[in-house]
């Protein structure tokens, strides 16, 4: 009897411990959780403040930089053609470094190794502008993470991190965004945490910021030590998030509360 009770208890425990992943048919962008007013700001390019970063990125795209005196456009031409659907496929495996790289990291790599220019710091206006401009070229396209076996280990690590309880509050990403996405934390919708619109214009920030800035905010919120910008951990999380959001349309630049 004691054994059967213990077994039943163990089964029960396991059943609670494994947060259910959101079925593909139930995946919803953060846009669906916003007020009509905020959705309207995002939908109208004339009111969407993120479009200012797109415009800044567009001028940087054409601007020669570094010792090469080449611009992004010198090699890549029209971004509308060459960068179409690129953001939908990132992070990707980078053969030069032998590791996964996120879009901002790839832009910075191009900057230093191809243009021979100074690197662009994470969250700098220049890198956010270029990332937003490149991301914008995939607006409306479905998130399509590459099925590259070289990404499997990092993506699995991202899933593990997503499900790891962290910080003094002892919460994982999954605790809220898989198990409780329908709920409200304070006055705000929890949401499913799909990276559909990054870089986003966040009203709370009064600026455009990256997915990693957003994740750092959540980590500080649970009173954890946030991962560093550009770290392998954040790129692993981005890989898992892309797979988790596969098929949802990109909205860059999204507007969020």
């Amino acid at each position: 009897m004691a054994f059967r009770l213990a077994f039943a208890a163990a089964l029960l425990c396991a059943g609670i411990a494994v947060a259910q992943e959101i079925p593909p048919g139930e995946r919803r962008s953060g846009t669906d959780f916003m007020s009509a007013e905020t959705r309207a700001i995002q939908a109208d390019d004339g009111s969407n403040p993120g479009m200012l970063w797109v415009l800044q990125g567009e001028s940087l795209w054409k601007e020669p930089a570094g010792a090469s005196r080449r611009s992004c456009a010198s090699c890549h031409g029209e971004a509308a053609t060459s960068m179409r659907d690129v953001a939908a496929r990132y992070p990707a495996f980078d053969t030069a470094s032998g590791a996964p790289v996120d879009l901002a990291g790839k832009i910075d790599q191009c900057r230093t190794t191809r243009q021979h220019a100074a690197g662009l710091p994470r969250e700098s206006e220049e890198l956010l502008g270029l990332s937003t401009y490149v991301g914008h070229q995939s607006r409306g396209l479905p998130i399509a993470p590459p099925d590259d076996p070289r990404l499997h280990a990092a993506r699995a690590e991202g899933k593990r991190l997503f499900e790891t309880r962290m910080g003094q509050l002892d919460l994982s990403c999954s605790s809220c965004h898989d198990a409780n996405w329908r709920g409200r934390l304070g006055g705000s919708a929890v949401t499913q945490a799909h990276p559909t619109g990054y870089p986003i214009y966040r009203l709370e920030w009064q600026a455009v910021g990256s997915l990693q800035r957003r994740m750092r905010g959540c980590m500080v919120g649970v009173r954890a030590e946030p991962f560093a910008y550009g770290s392998a951990e954040f790129i692993a999380l981005e890989l898992y998030l892309a797979e988790r959001a596969a098929g949802l349309a990109l909205e860059t630049p999204a507007v969020r509360p």
């Binding site: 709920g183 304070g186 009173r223 954890a224 030590e225």
Partner: protein, 138 residues
């Protein structure tokens, strides 16, 4: 598997089962709480964080969460000792609860340096919250 944990889980599996472990007496050296101080702590969105998940008869209903039970009338449903256990360490009743362990250092990975080794609330603060919640009878 340790006995209290097993008992707690079996308790979950069988609703209505009374548990000796379902309550916690006031710790030695801690004086009875003050409900007014407890009300202030519960409403504190930066320190106790209670209202981020719980709703109840507190200020600013539109800024309250719904990830955890409404605390209205909690004093009519649970005794002071039962409330104390839940505020102190809800995970003793349900290891998968969202609710952080308030008194002990039972935290997750990578605790921020400002918080490392520190409880969310000290025992006397928990006692104020217990006194306030126990006073919510309807």
């Amino acid at each position: 598997m340790n006995a209290p944990l097993l008992a707690a889980m079996v308790g979950l599996a069988v609703p209505g089962t009374a548990l000796a472990q379902d309550a916690m007496p006031r710790p030695a050296g801690i004086t009875p709480g003050e409900a007014t101080e407890g009300a202030r702590l519960v409403a504190d969105r930066q320190k106790s964080l209670c209202v981020l998940c719980h709703s109840g008869p507190f200020p600013n209903p539109h800024l309250q969460g719904n990830l955890a039970p409404d605390l209205s009338g909690i004093g009519a449903r649970l005794s002071e000792d039962e409330i104390r256990l839940r505020v102190t360490d809800m995970k003793r009743l349900n290891p998968d609860s969202l609710m952080p362990t308030y008194a002990a250092s039972k935290a997750g990975e990578r605790v921020g340096t400002a918080w490392r080794g520190r409880p969310i609330l000290v025992e006397q603060e928990i006692e104020h919250i217990v006194a306030y919640l126990a006073s919510l009878k309807e």
